[in-house]
Each structure stands twice: as C-alpha cells, then as structure tokens.
C-alpha cells in the first residue's frame, strides 16, 4: 500500500468537496478498495470515507419503497430489511462472511459493479432508483457493463430506493473459491409484471432475462420456464464454469427462485 491522506466528512456536501481534489477516491466499507490498494493496484492520494455521514446510513420505509442508505453495511440490511423486503435481506445476509458483511456496503457494491456481485441483481430486478448527490438514476440506466456505471467522476451514491415486490427471491450459486455469485438470479413479482435480473453469468455484467420475465408475468411458476433457454453466446466463461454451464445455471436458478418466492 502507498501512503495516502484520509478524510472523514460528516455531510454529503463536504464529501463531494473532498472528492473534487486530485487523486481523491471514496471509501465506504473498504472491502474492495483496501485489498486493491494493498496489492498496489490502486493508489489514491486521498481517501474520503463515507461512513461518517449519518444520512447515508440505515434502512427505512419511505416514498417509493424501502430506502437503504448507501453506506449501510450488508449485515444491517440483512437485519433491518427483513420485515419489509425479505429477499433483499436474504441477499445481503449471503454476501461474503461476517466480517465482510459488517463492513461492506451497498453503495460500495453497486459503485464497483463487480459482474459477480449480488446487489446489482436486486437493484435491477426491483427496478430500484439509485440516488446520488446530483440526481436519481433508474436501475435500468445505472448498470453499464463490467465495473461500469452511470456514475460520473466524484459522484456519490447516497441511497437506493427499492420498490417492494409482492413476491421475490434471490438464489445464488457460489463460485467455489471466492463465493461471489458464479450465477445469481433475483426474481421480483410486481403487480405490473415480473422482473428477472441475473448476476455473475453475463459477459457484460448484470442483465435482465426478458423472455423469462414475459413467461413469468403470464404464469408465475417454475414450469413456465420449461420451454426457454439461455443463449451461451452472451455468457461469461472462466475457470469455474463454461458459458454453457452458466446458461444452464441461469435457467435452473431462475426456476428455483420462482419456487422459493412462492
């Protein structure tokens, strides 16, 4: 790790100012950024911690659904979202291990947009709104491929607003080493229709499986998927699974998520 300066502002405005400095970078739970710095793959000159900003913490019901502060650790979401949005709480409770969950945050996760991360699937399947210090971004516009988002330099995710579905479930199949999602599927059934978001599998990051959404909107049962198949051409392939294997997982896990959603 190289040397850096450290700032811990208590307001979003101060954080935004601090982030305007040359070489400044936001630090939330540090579960991605700190290991990267230790390996000397990143060397920000100023780290601006977001965890001291009160308005970015916590889970509460509000306009448009469940508001989750961007600096809320996974463990807190796992606990506090349970009564309102159990599938989201399940997802948060299945990320990493206890120490990762007590530090890592939703804002850090979706800002990073790791193609194997869990949260992006919940955000996309819920049709959530990503709130930043500058604007509101619809989930469908927010995720833009591997480690790429609609965020501009220095822009801070402050919260995420999740519309609450009638039924939902997240089913994650662990990558055997990292235990991130080799493939994870989030299914959310709203009055207006079903949304299915897939993480870990696509070669361009999290995506919606439109055919499944159509089929499940008509008939919310695992058997509704039986005639469908996923094209391996759009799937990622690596040491832990071929594109064909991932395509199979997308289908199998979607069916299991529908069953789990009940």
């Amino acid at each position: 790790m190289h040397n850096f300066d450290f700032a811990k502002p208590s307001t979003i405005a101060d954080a935004a100012r601090a982030l305007a400095a040359e070489g400044a970078q936001a630090l939330s739970g540090g579960q991605t950024l700190i290991p990267t710095m230790k390996q000397r793959l990143a060397a920000p000159s100023v780290l601006v911690s977001l965890t001291g900003i009160k308005e970015m913490q916590g889970v509460c019901l509000g306009e448009g659904g469940l508001h989750v502060g961007a600096a809320t650790p996974h463990a807190v979401v796992a606990k506090e979202a349970r009564a309102h949005y159990p599938a989201l709480a399940d997802l948060a409770g299945g990320i990493g291990d206890p120490s990762v969950r007590s530090r890592g945050t939703i804002g850090g996760s979706i800002a990073n947009n790791d193609p194997a991360a869990c949260y992006p699937s919940a955000v996309l399947a819920s049709g959530a709104t990503v709130v930043t210090n500058k604007r509101r971004i619809a989930a469908d516009d927010y995720f833009q491929g591997l480690f790429t988002t609609a965020l501009e330099a220095g822009e801070i995710v402050t919260s995420v607003i999740f519309p609450i579905p009638q039924k939902a479930a997240y089913v994650k199949f662990n990558q055997p080493a990292s235990r991130f999602a080799l493939t994870g599927v989030f299914v959310a059934k709203f009055a207006s229709g079903v949304r299915v978001a897939v993480t870990g599998a696509g070669n361009d990051g999290v995506f919606r499986w439109a055919e499944a959404e159509r089929a499940l909107s008509a008939d919310f049962s695992a058997s509704a998927l039986s005639g469908l198949s996923v094209d391996p051409a759009g799937m990622n392939s690596d040491l832990h699974g071929s594109a064909e294997y991932r395509a199979n997982l997308v289908k199998v896990l979607t069916g299991r998520a529908v069953t789990a959603a009940g």
Binding site: Q39, R40, F173, P176, A177, S178, L182, L239, H240, G241, S242, E244, Y245, N248, L249, V252, L253, R256
Partner: protein, 792 residues
C-alpha cells in the same frame, strides 16, 4: 473408563492454550533490534532470459541497504535433491542446479531473480518495483503441458536437458516383461486415464525467515518456518552457503502448518543469511499470500494411465501404470522421491496382486516446483488403484465391497512381501472393511437414497480401502533406493534435579500436538504427571540431530527414540536405586514411578533417584556417572503400514452439478493409539484436505505459464460447510511389530484414503441416476465438471 492420563488418554492439547489465546510466537512475530526488510523481485514471465538488471536506481533509493541478484550467488552451491533416482536404462537423473536467486534464466512466474534489503518494508518494496522496471527479461515460450514438454526437444526449461525429462523410472524394471505377459493373458483389462490434480499447500502461516549474523563471533542464526530445522541447517550449511554447521543455528519456532511445503529449504532462507552477514543486521522476510501461491512447493500433479488385468469375477491379476509427474522448474528437496518411492512402492495397495509394474517419467515445466504434500505419492497411488478397481466393478457388474474383500490380504499372510518392494509387517484389512460397513449402515443405503431422491438429489456411495507406508524411514533401505540422507531420529531425555523432565526431540510440531502426546508417553513410562514433562523442539542449538516431521514419522520414529531414551533413564535409575537400597541391580523393579526391591517394601521414588543423580552424596561414583540424561537415536527396521477403509456418501444436484458430501466414515488401523482425540483430529484434517482435493482444489496455469488460481478468489479451499461431521473409528488395531510403542502414524491417512472414496461416490450417484455414460470425472469434481459430464 477411558484413561485421563498417559498413553491412551485424550489429554487436551497443551499447545492450544497459547495458540488459541494469541500467545504463539511465530517467525513474523519476532521483532529484533536493528532489523531490516528483504523484498524479492520475482519473474512475471514463466520462462525468460535475463538480459540485464540495472541495480543503480534501486540501490540509490531511500532506505535501501543492499541489492542482490543471481550474480551474487552464482558461485555458491545449489540446493540439492535429496534422492538420486536412476532411469530405467541405469542412467542417473538429470539434476539441474537450483540457485539462491535465478541466474541467466527465470523458469517460473514467481522465480526470484533479485532482492532488495531496506530499512523498512515499504522502502524495500518500492525499490523492488524499481528494480523490476530496470530489469530486461526476454520472454521465451513457456513449457507448461507435460506431454508437450517431453515431445518438443527444442524448448527447454534447463538448456542442458533436451527433453525436459528428469528421469524415466521403472519399478520394478526387471518385472516389466512378466507384468506385460500377465496383462496380456488376463481375461479382462480395465483402463483408466486420470489426473491427480495439482494442489497449493496453503499453510495458514506463510513462509517467513529471519537471518542474523554476529560479527563478534561469526555465528549465524536462521529463524524460519521449517518442519525440520536440522535438515534445513544441513542444506544451508553444507550444500548452499558453505557455512560450517557449528556456526549456524536454525530455529523453527511456532509454525502454522506445513503439510510438506515447509520441509524444503528455499532460496529466501539463504538470502536473508547472506544479507545479514553483509549488513551485520537482522534481515527479515515474510511471504505475502500471493508469493505463497507462486513459490511454495505445490503437491501432486500426476497424469496417469492405469491398467488392471483381472478375472471376470474380479480377482486382480496385474496392475500397470504409466505416469507423467510434474516436478516444476527446479528439483525441490524431496521431489524425486515423491513420485517414485513414495508412490510406486504402494501400487499393490492392501491387495494380493501378483504382478505390478509402475513407470514414472518426471518432467520439468515452467511452473512452481512440485514436491511432497500431505500423503506425498501415496494419495496418488491410492487414487489410481481405488478408481480403477471401482471401474472394474462397474464394467463387470460386481459388488465393490465383495471385490475388495476377495482381493485384500488376509491376516495370515503377514509378513507379506509385495511385488513392489515392501514388506507389510501386519494388518487386518477385512476387519476395517467390516467395521466401516457397519458404521456406514451399508444395508440402509437404498432407503437413504430414496429419501434423497424425494428432495431431488442423487445419492451415491463410494468405498476406498487404502494402505500407506509411513514412519519414514529405514535408512538402509532408503539408502539403497537413492536417498542421500538417513531417516532415523533422535531424542534426549533430561531429568532435572528435582525430577521433572525436559525432552529434546528431532521431530517438529507445526500443528500436530507433539508437545501433548510426547509428554503423555514419557509420563506414562516414568509414572509421573504429564505436567512434569516439557517437550523442546525446533532449535538446532537445543535438540539432537533429528530429521523433523513429515511422512507420519514423528511418533513412530521420534517417539520410539524417546521411548528408548526413557528406557535408558530407567536402566540407570535402577543402578542408582540398587546402590541406595543396597540391593543387586537385577532385583530392582520400576513401576508407577517407584524403584523397588522385588518382594520387599524397600523403594525409592523417581524423584529421589533423580535428586541423588544430581546430588551424588550417596552414589556409586566409581562405577556410574552422575546426572540423569540420556539420548537415543532410532533407525526404524521397516516402514509402518497404517491402513483402513473409508466410505463416503454424496448427494448430487443434477441441475447445478453440485456435490455435497453428506456422510464420511473412516475405519482406520493406526496400531496403538496414544491420544484418541488427537488421532481423530488428524483424521478430520486429512479427510478435509482429501475432500478439498476431490471436490474443490485445483491449480491452473495458462499456456503462457501465468498462475490463474493465484489467490483465494480463484483457488477453491474447502470450508466447514463443504465437509460433513466425520464418523471416525480406530478400534481395529494391529500394533506395529517393529517399534516398541506399536504405533503406525495417522497424519496423512485421511488425505490418502479419502479422494477416491469421494469420486467413487459421485460416479455411483450418477449411475444410479441413469447417467451410465459417465465412467470417470477428473478431480476436482466441481459443479461445472459434474454438470458437463452429465450433459456431455
């Protein structure tokens, strides 16, 4: 009532008090006055010619004290291979020099070719980055695949070795023709090609070394993560740096796991010593986890074709194997013994097989060196055998339990000379098979399978009956086989003046629990409390010349040395007692800590005798030296042969290919058991590693030699959720016939016996599910491989 003290008691591990409360002292915990930090510059290419290394920039950076390159060590001796193996044609193996720092060529990603020593770690690291930038290395085509390595003489890991072959070994070469003939004549031949997957050892504590030099005395000290400090001293002193052994102290303090990887001497140890001498200050280095992945000696990595000739009813007639074994870029110290004498000699298994022939070609590649890893050669042999027998059962529609029973040696056949050069002294393989079948409720399997099916899972059961040779090793035998060292061990028992005891042993405990078990043995023999016995290990300045811990040898070899030293103490005690009690020596008995004149109540306690030995006022000084301290060296007459039978039950999820181990039963014969709790722990750990190998772990290099599984993001380690609650039994005991404790060793058993049980269970599950086209899946039997096999 189970014993609560001494031999056979489940005494709690005394070392755990410090380990669990953070009071262990590991190499990296030691802070030394004036210490400096070494950082190594490691090759980022698998194969390259070093064109130039410009050291000036790095040397001038803040805090930098010294810069080293391969040039600095080009004239010192190389790190040798411990075993000389001859090829089938009688020619000796090719033995390229393994330098302290790579010189002229780099041969694997992670190969250190330079080092920087600085005042702080950060300064050393900055300078090492500069040095890397100032080094010109011409990348050469990497040699990764073993078959290609042997086939292409133009591309060479070592320029002087044209076919990248270290040796081509036949065991036993004289039997080759007879085995071929038996195979030809066999009514049925089963053939299986398989890969024994390459593993990264992943000890919890990374390697670490501190070098010190005292210019006032000329003494060196190396504190290092070693399983065998004396062996390391011998290698550094006599072979690599040419320091006289009496001027080098090697200390292996608390060591957080080794699994084989810390047997060997590595270049970093030599570098910190040489640098300490140059600077007159302590020089320290601790591997980062990435360095561990790249440079710890890896394990396994065999590609094998095994053929088994048999009758139609499953009597095994002949076994023949051809193996390519990867040794990586350099010969690590045991790398030539592992695929040969720890592998080929076990290829008859616990069976009566008249004809066995093993061929092993060891191949240099541009990958990290490969050497012994928990089990070392024996897991590879067991896996090949138990998989091919399972395949035979499927091809001939035979019951795997009955086939094992039919072929297992029977108790009346011992001692049994195998066709691959070993003499099994004792065993009862039927007994462990019966035991494990009862434990696993084999009869109830169908019911369990039906229940699994209701939950959408395919259930399968796999068996493995295994044997190993440990208690390494009889020196005369290994000498004939090419070992360049003896493999005895030693212990000194020092009775202190007030009757408590310090035992100095050659074995090194890095997780095994020696401090507890050895104390139990000494306490039992002397009739004193365990708490009066201290076990001292890991420091060449304190302990006698012993060979360390690996190959499940500590108890069988070093424990025996200790028992013999205690016997000498008792013998001397009897002499002292005879004098004090005015009796003849032959009339003195020793029991429960008391020397007694037989048939009388005249007695002296052990403490009184000890005191008299050190305060010899009433003592036969004319005929007996004062003091009570004895050393024994013990060279085993034979290997020991633990054996057992394992049953694994798995559930397979057809949709995802995921395998869950739902039950694992072990019936082992370890001979006499000194501490049941510790034995169970060793079996748990071994089986855990075996399940890891079978289901999770693999080491992938791409075709350019980059390690793709170089961190825990991609190297799958087994976790608690991947293993079941083990059902472990060691009640079948045929005591070893040639050591006084009757012990055999249990450290590697689990890792040896379990992988084939797991894979056999997976194949069984798939067959029961109708996927009968699947005859084999290479390890790790990962979800994607199982799914591909089902759908392939």
């Amino acid at each position: 009532m189970p014993k609560d003290h001494g031999i056979g008691a489940s005494s709690k591990r005394r070392e755990d008090v410090r380990f669990l409360t953070g009071r262990g002292v590991y190499t990296d915990d030691m802070a030394l006055h004036g210490q400096t930090y070494a950082v190594f510059v490691r090759s980022t290419v698998a194969h390259g010619r070093i064109k130039s290394i410009k050291t000036a920039n790095a040397a001038g950076m803040p805090g930098v004290l010294a810069v080293f390159t391969g040039e600095d060590f080009k004239d010192v001796g190389g790190n040798p291979a411990g075993w000389l193996i001859n090829s089938r044609d009688g020619t000796p193996m090719r033995e390229p020099k393994r330098p302290v720092l790579a010189y002229s060529k780099v041969r694997h990603v992670g190969d250190a070719y330079a080092a920087v020593v600085a005042e702080t770690y950060a300064q050393a690291r900055d300078a090492a980055e500069q040095l890397a930038a100032d080094s010109e290395i011409e990348e050469l085509p990497a040699i990764i695949d073993m078959k290609a390595a042997v086939a292409d003489p133009s591309n060479r890991v070592h320029d002087e070795i044209p076919d990248n072959l270290c040796f081509d070994w036949g065991w036993i070469e004289d039997n080759r023709a007879a085995v071929d003939a038996a195979m030809k004549a066999a009514p049925h031949v089963v053939t299986l090609e398989l890969v024994n997957n390459r593993l990264v050892p992943n000890a919890m504590e990374p390697r670490a070394s501190i070098g010190e030099y005292n210019p006032g005395t000329g003494d060196y000290k190396l504190t290092t993560t070693s399983q065998n400090p004396h062996l390391t001293r011998l290698l550094v002193a006599a072979f690599v740096l040419g320091i006289p052994e009496n001027k080098l102290q090697v200390v292996a303090p608390d060591v957080g796991g080794g699994f084989g990887s810390k047997i060997y001497h590595y270049g970093e140890e030599a570098l910190v010593l040489a640098a300490a001498k140059k600077l007159g200050r302590p020089v320290r280095w601790t591997a980062e986890r990435s360095e561990s992945f790249l440079t710890d000696a890896h394990g396994r990595d065999h590609v094998t074709k095994i053929e088994l000739g048999c009758t139609k009813d499953g009597q095994i007639l002949a076994i023949r194997t051809e193996t390519l074994a990867n040794v990586g870029a350099y010969l690590s110290n045991f790398s030539t013994a592992t695929p040969t004498f720890l592998h080929g000699t076990l290829m008859a298994g616990p069976y009566k097989v008249p004809h066995v022939y093993v061929n092993v070609k060891t191949v240099f590649t541009n990958t990290a060196p490969v050497d012994a890893y928990r089990g070392a050669g024996r897991p590879e042999a067991t896996y090949s055998l138990e998989r091919v027998i399972d395949k035979m059962c499927r091809e001939l529609n035979l019951d795997p339990f009955e086939v094992r029973r039919k072929n297992l040696l029977t108790p009346d056949q011992f001692p049994y000379t195998t066709p691959v050069g070993l003499v099994y002294d004792t065993g009862n393989y039927q007994a462990t098979l019966d035991r494990v079948m009862a434990m696993a409720d084999v009869a109830g399997f169908e019911k369990r399978a039906a229940e699994s099916k209701k939950r959408g899972k395919l259930r399968g059961m796999g068996l493995s009956t295994w044997i190993e040779a440990c208690g390494i090793a009889p020196s005369h035998l290994v000498g004939v086989l090419g070992s360049r060292v003896g493999l005895y061990d030693a212990a000194t028992v020092r009775v202190n003046a007030t009757g408590n005891i310090s035992v100095m042993t050659g074995a090194h405990s890095h997780g095994q629990g020696h401090e507890t078990v050895f104390a139990q043995i000494v306490a039992e023999k002397l009739g004193i409390p365990e708490s009066s016995v201290e076990i001292v290990h890991g420091d060449t300045a304190k302990i006698p010349f012993g060979m360390g811990s690996y190959g499940s040898r500590s108890l069988a070899v070093c424990g025996t040395a200790m028992a013999k030293a205690v016997d000498k103490i008792i013998a001397k005690g009897k002499k002292i007692a005879a004098h004090m009690l005015e009796a003849s020596e032959g009339d003195i008995t020793f029991e429960n800590g008391k020397f007694q004149v037989a048939g009388t109540d005249k007695a002296k306690t052990f403490g009184e005798i000890a005191f008299s030995a050190y305060v010899p006022h009433n003592y036969p000084l004319e005929t007996l030296e004062p003091g009570l301290e004895e050393t024994a060296f013990y060279d085993p007459a034979n290997f020991t042969y633990p054996a057992g039978a394992y049953i694994c039950e798995v559930e397979v999820d057809e949709g995802t290919g995921k395998v869950d181990v739902v039950a694992f039963h072990c019936a082992d014969d370890f001979g006499n058991v000194m501490n049941p709790m510790i034995v169970e722990g060793q079996v748990h750990g071994g089986v855990g590693q075996g399940i890891g190998q079978a289901l999770c772990e693999f080491t992938a290099y791409d075709e350019t030699g980059q390690l793709l599984t170089g961190s825990y993001m991609d190297y799958p380690m087994p976790r608690a959720e991947d293993v079941p609650f083990y059902n472990v039994d060691y009640s079948c005991q045929t005591p070893c016939t040639h050591n006084p404790l009757g012990v055999k060793g249990c450290g590697e058993a689990g890792a040896i016996g379990s992988p084939p049980a797991v894979v056999n269970a997976v194949i069984d599950a798939l067959h029961r599910g109708g996927h009968t086209h699947v005859t084999h899946i290479d390890m790790p039997v990962s979800p994607s491989r199982v799914w591909s096999a089902i759908n392939g």
